[in-house]
Structure formats: C-alpha cells, structure tokens
C-alpha cells in the first residue's frame, strides 16, 4: 500500500504535470485572493480567509480530477493494470495506495496557502485579529471535501482507459455531489417541503457547516460515507475486470 502511494507520488512529480497542476492551483488562488479586486482579501476590509474557502471547492472540482485522472485510466490504457493486479496485493490496497498518494499531493498543494494565513494575521488591525478557530475548522472541512473529491476522481478514473474522459466524468461527479442537491432544492416543487432535506445530501451543506468552525460528528460521518461509497464503487469496478 505504501509502496504504491510512494510510487504514485514520485511519478506525479517526475512528470511536469504534477508541478503544473499544483502551480496552477496556487497561481489561481494567489490571483483571486490578493490581486483581483472583486475577490481580494485586501479590498475586502475584513481580516478573514473566507475567499479561499469559498473558492476552493470550485477550483478543486477541476484540480482533483486532474490529479486522479491518470491513477487507473493510465494503468488501463498501458496494460500495466495486469502487472499490478497479478502482484500479491489486494485491489483494496491498490486503491488505498493511490488514495493516500492523492491526499498527500493535495496537502502539499494546500500547505503553501498557510502563507495567506500568516499574511492576513500580520495585516489584521490590531495584528492577529482573525478567527483562527474558524480557519482551522475550514481547513479541516476542506481536507474532508478534498478526500471526498479524491475518491470521486479515483472512481471516475477506474471507469475508462481514456484520461480525458476520466477527467470530465470526475469533474462532473464532483460538481454533482457538491452543488446539485443545493440547486435542485431551489426548484419550486421542493421549496418549503423537502428543500432542507435535499440540501443535506450535498457536500456543500456539510462543507459550509464545517467552514464555520463547527466540527459536528454528523458532518464527519457524511464525508466518510461519501469516501467509502466511492472507494467501494471503484473496488466493484476493478473486480469486474471488464477491460
């Protein structure tokens, strides 16, 4: 499992793709939070990092499937899945190895954003006047969200041997799981009847609750369920061996 995680991480950075994906993520974040006036923290007058946590799901909808698209699609394309599947390692461990590698890469992408925290901390008036608890909660929420997107992306990658298709399916499923239930709850037929229940099915609902710095067991259970479901689905797809 760790062997696979290590190999995936190193092959991510042995190709330019790894640096490009994490570079683009940080570039977009930097531009949005410190340069473009509409979304900039500096022109927002409040010492907070809401911008980051508001934008992150949108950007992760594209960044995470871009990381995961090659995980299985490339193995299926090149036939190396046959090597991997005939080694004494269970399908579940293969999936978890890749999952861990993905999580590590995302943490690596997120680590530099701690610089933003430091900047906002220094710029606050008075200095250090910001809601550290809220930001910690948001980071934890973002990690759960990333892990969910990751499992979705891995599932998408196991469906096809075409990386572009894997990316598009992954991005769509991330969008679907995050926003669909929120937007569909606004359909007049549901408003006032089951809109609240519907919203609870979306990742968005649980993510915004965590962003307030409130770590509720219910939300944690929700995220863990999403992750388990998609990992189980990936396992199922791999077991069928229909390629």
């Amino acid at each position: 499992m760790w062997t696979i995680a290590l190999k995936e991480t190193s092959s991510f950075f042995s190709s330019l793709a790894g640096f490009i994906i994490s570079g683009v993520f940080l570039l977009v974040m930097g531009l949005m939070l410190f340069f473009f006036p509409d979304t900039s923290i500096l022109t927002g007058n409040y010492a907070n990092m809401d911008g980051l946590f508001y934008l992150a799901p949108t950007i992760f909808t594209f960044v995470i499937p871009a990381i995961t698209m090659r995980f299985f699609a490339e193995e299926l394309q090149s036939g190396t899945i046959e090597l991997l599947a005939t080694k004494p390692i269970s399908d579940f461990r293969i999936i978890m190895g890749k999952f861990i590698a993905g999580l590590f890469l995302i943490v690596l992408c997120l680590l530099p954003t701690l610089v933003y925290y430091y900047s906002v901390y220094q710029l606050g008036s008075p200095k250090g006047n910001l809601d550290t608890g809220g930001i910690m909660g948001s980071y934890i929420g973002l990690l759960f969200l990333s892990a969910s997107f990751l499992s979705i992306g891995i599932f998408a990658s196991s469906l096809t041997h075409n990386q572009v298709v894997a990316f598009i399916i992954g991005a769509f499923l991330c969008f679907f799981c995050h926003w669909f239930f929120f937007y569909v709850s606004k359909v007049p037929a549901f408003v006032g009847r089951m809109d609240y229940i519907l919203q609870k099915f979306g990742i968005d609902y649980h993510y915004s609750r965590m962003s307030k710095g409130l770590i509720d067991l219910k939300d944690v259970v929700f995220f863990l369920s999403v992750i388990s479901v998609f990992i189980a689905l990936t396992h199922f797809v791999l077991r069928r061996r229909k390629w």
Binding site: S14, S15, G79, L83, K87, P88, I89, R241
Partner: protein, 305 residues
Amino acid sequence: MSIEVNKLTKIYGSQKALDEVSFSVFKGDILGFLGPNGAGKSTTMKILSCFIPQTSGEAKITGLDVKTDSLAVRRVLGYLPEHNPLYKDMYIKEYLLYVAKLYQLDNSARRVRDMIELTGLGREQHKLISQISKGYRQRVGLAQAMIHDPQVLIMDEPTSGLDPNQLAEIRNVIREIGKEKVVIFSTHIMQEVEALCNRVVIINKGRIVLDDKIEKLSAVSQVSNTITIQFAPGSRVDTASFRQIDDLKDIQPKNENSFEFTSSGDRDIRVELFDASVAAELKIIRMEQRSFSMEDIFQQLTTNS
C-alpha cells in the same frame, strides 16, 4: 510444485473462449503453449495468473486454487503479460525495486542487482524504460517476473520482438529456470518449442487438440512415408521397376524427372528404392524424405476442424 488445470471454461458474453481445458505441468517441465491467434492461450494464462476469473472449472498452482487462494498464488507465481506492459516513465532500477517491494521481499536491493545481471541489463540499468529498445524492455519484463524467485513462471509470448542474439540469450535464461521450476510460455515460433520445451500443448478454438511430450512429437515427425526422388535428366523411368518393393503403395510423377513414392507402412524404404533404381540403371541425383515438422502438425491440428 505443479500447475493443475481441470475443465477450465471461460465465456466472454456469448463467446466461449475456453472449453473445458485440462492439463497439468510438473516441476522441471517447460511447457510450450501453442495455438492460432484467438485460440485461448492468453485467456488461460490470465486465469492462471489470477487476472481474470474463470467461468467454471478449476485451476491450481502448487496446490493453491487461483480463485480462492488468489493472493497466495500470486506470491509464488511470476507472470509476464502479453505485450509486456511497463511503466514507461520509470527508471529500470526504480521499477524493479518497486516490483520487489510489492512482493515485500526482504532483500529487494540484492534481488534487483541479481535480476539485472541475469537478464544482462547492466549497461542500461540507469535508463528510463521509455528510452530502451524492445528487446531490453522484454528483459525488464522477464526480470520483474522472476524477481521474487517464483516457483511457477508464466510468460505470454516472451520472445516476441527480439533479435536472434537476444532470442538465444532469453531462451538460455528460460532453459536455466525451467530446470527447477515450472514454466509455461506461449509462442508462435515452432522452432522455439522444439528448442526449449519438453512438453507441448496445442490449443484451438478454446479446446486442447494436442498435449504431448516433445520427444514423441519428434519421433512422429521422423516417420514419413513420402519420398521424392529426382533422376538424372533424360532418364526413362519405368514405374514397373519398383513394383517388387514391399509396402510401396503409389508412384506419382511430379515433373519430368521427379517422382513421389508413397509407402504404406512405417518402414523406411529408401535403401530399396536406391537398389531398385540402380538395377534399372537409373541415376539418382536427389532423394528426399519429407519430414513432418512442428509446423505441419500445428497446421493439421488447427485447420481441419
């Protein structure tokens, strides 16, 4: 140490890829697996290597069932898939070390060194897999299949795309391993089977059409009852001169000076034909006994069905 396959059947959708295939291989055997394209060779190997499950029947490797003891089977088995898939963005050494770690070997680094030496990859070992030629990639594939010193080695077309020198080297490697392990490999090259194997299984349309020791096949191939004789130009051949030879069934003129003699028995009648020719004052300039080659046997078994 053995492979036992019993009534193995694999159905893809509506197509029967394998139909009750049974055979067994024991220690010290090198089994050549032959058959036309699409006969079911790769399917059998994929089932044996635990990559795809069979529809029915059972396969046991060193007594372990491939379906129920999959992980244990994979530990004792080395497998080189068809087309030899490899991670092209890895370095040879890095890749072999990765495979060694997947097998959880204690002495990974040493095994990698040994394999590089065994397969003659020494000069290339620091290159990227995408940079090396097909022959060297094939060696990397072999190295990864043997890195954990498997008891059973299954190789799907291990010698495709190799030049004659590499071919000889790889064959030597396989022959060495075959002495104390169980080896199955598939190939399209008949000479390879004759040179390397002591057992042959020919499969056609999912069924086994031949399963025999190679010595027996060679014995069969020597006994042929068709002899072609070419006489000196201008000879006047009277077929009656050969009538007294026992077992001679038929004489067919092939062209002006050549005749094809067919005998009915297993006896070699070449000496008698020579004597009869001398008696009839005919000068033989060429005499040839047609021998059945592996190709003939293969074609015979895989076409008329």
